[in-house]
């Protein structure tokens, strides 16, 4: 107990202290969940009842409103994880460890959803569940990378050591992702090119774009909610472990 010698915390240290995080994040989970639910209700209503059928794809175009947000999250979560990895390696921050671990499994889930909805959409429109096309293949490789990270987390007993090594692998992967993407595109391409974020404005009418954007925000808020809950769970799980260890030692001493 050397509280007197510790230097005073600034606001960021206070906010990012795991104990403090548990206190303030408690009041954030419900609002985040409510925002996400509201956006889902609006977005799904638009997607099902207030958006046109595609003149070629018909009703199957509505799969897009689930597929595209998941594909976006599959990349967004990796960026969040890479930022947390920098936090782990540079500042050695325990909250960054927890954020990285919570994001890994979520990223794998969202990427799996993107692949699954993509397969369902590909069957009626392209006539196949799977095609070795550039974008699909790089998403599949991304999925395998997520699974590798999850496996690496689970292979260590000591989660503090695991965090640093996982962070190294996450950053090596982050450097590698553009190379993988480029090489796979070079290898084979069939998928339609990016059509929302591109120079010269989006390539779709607002009647489709609005539900798509709402659904993207809905899924992003879903991720933020789940990430917050998973981080809280992880911190509590570590506390339980520490308490168990303490009790075990006390038992031996007695």
């Amino acid at each position: 107990m050397s509280i007197e010698t510790a230097k005073p915390m600034n606001w960021f240290d206070k906010l990012a202290h795991p104990g403090q995080f548990l206190i303030w994040s408690r009041y954030l989970v419900l609002p985040l969940a409510l925002v996400s639910t509201t956006l889902f209700v609006i977005g799904l209503w638009y997607a099902f009842f207030n958006s046109p059928e595609d003149y070629q794809m018909g009703d199957t175009v509505r799969i897009m409103y689930v597929h595209v947000p998941n594909a976006w999250l599959s990349q967004f979560v990796y960026v969040a994880m890479a930022v947390s990895a920098i936090g782990t390696l540079v500042w050695r921050h325990p909250l960054a460890d927890v954020s990285m671990k919570a994001a890994a499994a979520l990223g794998a889930a969202f990427t799996a959803m993107a692949l699954f909805t993509g397969a369902l959409w590909g069957r009626p429109t392209w006539g196949t569940y799977w095609e070795w096309d550039g974008r699909m293949t790089s998403t599949l490789v991304l999925f395998l990378m997520y699974l590798g990270l999850v496996i690496l987390w689970r292979s260590f007993d000591d989660q503090l050591r695991a965090a640093k090594l996982v962070a190294v692998l996450t950053l090596v992967g982050a450097i590698n992702i553009p190379v993988i993407k480029f090489s796979v595109d070079w290898w084979n391409t069939l998928h339609q090119p990016a059509s929302v974020l591109r120079a010269g404005g989006p390539a779709m009418p607002p009647s489709i774009l609005i539900p798509l954007i709402v659904m993207t925000f809905a899924f992003t808020f879903l991720f933020l909610t789940l990430h917050m809950v998973a981080m809280r769970t992880e911190i509590l799980r570590r506390r339980v472990r520490a308490l168990e260890r303490k009790r075990a030692v006390e038992g031996i001493v007695k």
Partner: protein
């Protein structure tokens, strides 16, 4: 520099002294080429068409097999701890170990390629392209492998986890490696693929020692 050469020589001596390890590796590499025709049939035309992919898969699997000995022995006998007090940095030592590992695990495979070339009915141009593409691509394979081996060095079953981590990252090497041989994408595509392969190797070999040394340091904290 002296210490650098000493580490390379030390690793080379250890690897060549246990000649059985080296032979196992080469045998494994050749055996994959021997097994594949049993699986897909003895059609010589088909085998020649698939040969670039088969050779690269064989090289991939063999390099994964050799990976575990890169840092594990040094971790177990405490050499890695001693390295941290050496006159040269751990990054430099890792680079030296990378060179020695490539010389003892990748070069023998390239020397054994003629056997696969005969088995898989390669013609002469394809054979030379295969050798060039392996020479250009295997350094990157060793570099990625070193990062994976360093990350998993403290795990008892690291030999099983490391390949799962490395394989997705190595997809570009496989793509450009096979394109540099078969070149069905268009004229000059194989030259482009060779250049990409060389580029990936240069970047990964120059960055991997830092990532691997960082992982080794973090393991010992």
């Amino acid at each position: 520099m002296n210490a650098f050469v000493a580490v390379v020589a030390h690793d080379l001596k250890l690897a060549t002294r246990s000649f059985g390890d080296l032979l196992t590796l080469i045998l494994f590499f050749v055996m994959i080429g021997v097994i594949v025709p049993f699986a897909i049939g003895p059609d010589k035309v088909l085998l020649a068409r698939l040969s670039p992919g088969i050779v690269w898969i064989a090289a991939f699997l063999s390099s994964l097999l050799a990976l575990d000995r890169l840092f594990r022995v040094d971790q177990e006998d405490g050499s890695l701890l001693a390295f941290r007090h050496a006159t040269i940095s751990l990054e430099t030592i890792t680079f030296a170990k990378l060179i020695a590992h490539w010389l003892t695990s990748a070069l023998p495979l390239i020397l054994a390629t003629p056997i696969l070339a005969v088995m898989l009915n390669m013609d002469m141009t394809i054979f030379w392209r295969t050798v060039v593409s392996l020479l250009l691509g295997t350094p990157a394979l060793t570099a990625f492998g070193a990062v994976g081996a360093a990350i998993t060095v403290s795990l008892r079953r690291g030999g099983l986890v490391a390949p799962v981590l490395i394989l997705p990252l190595s997809v570009p090497i496989l793509i450009f490696g096979t394109s540099a041989i078969s070149a069905n994408a268009g004229p000059d595509a194989e030259v482009a693929a060779q250049l990409f392969l060389a580029g990936i190797s240069l970047v990964s070999v120059s960055l991997a020692p830092f990532a691997a040394a960082l992982a080794l340091k973090l393991t010992q904290e």
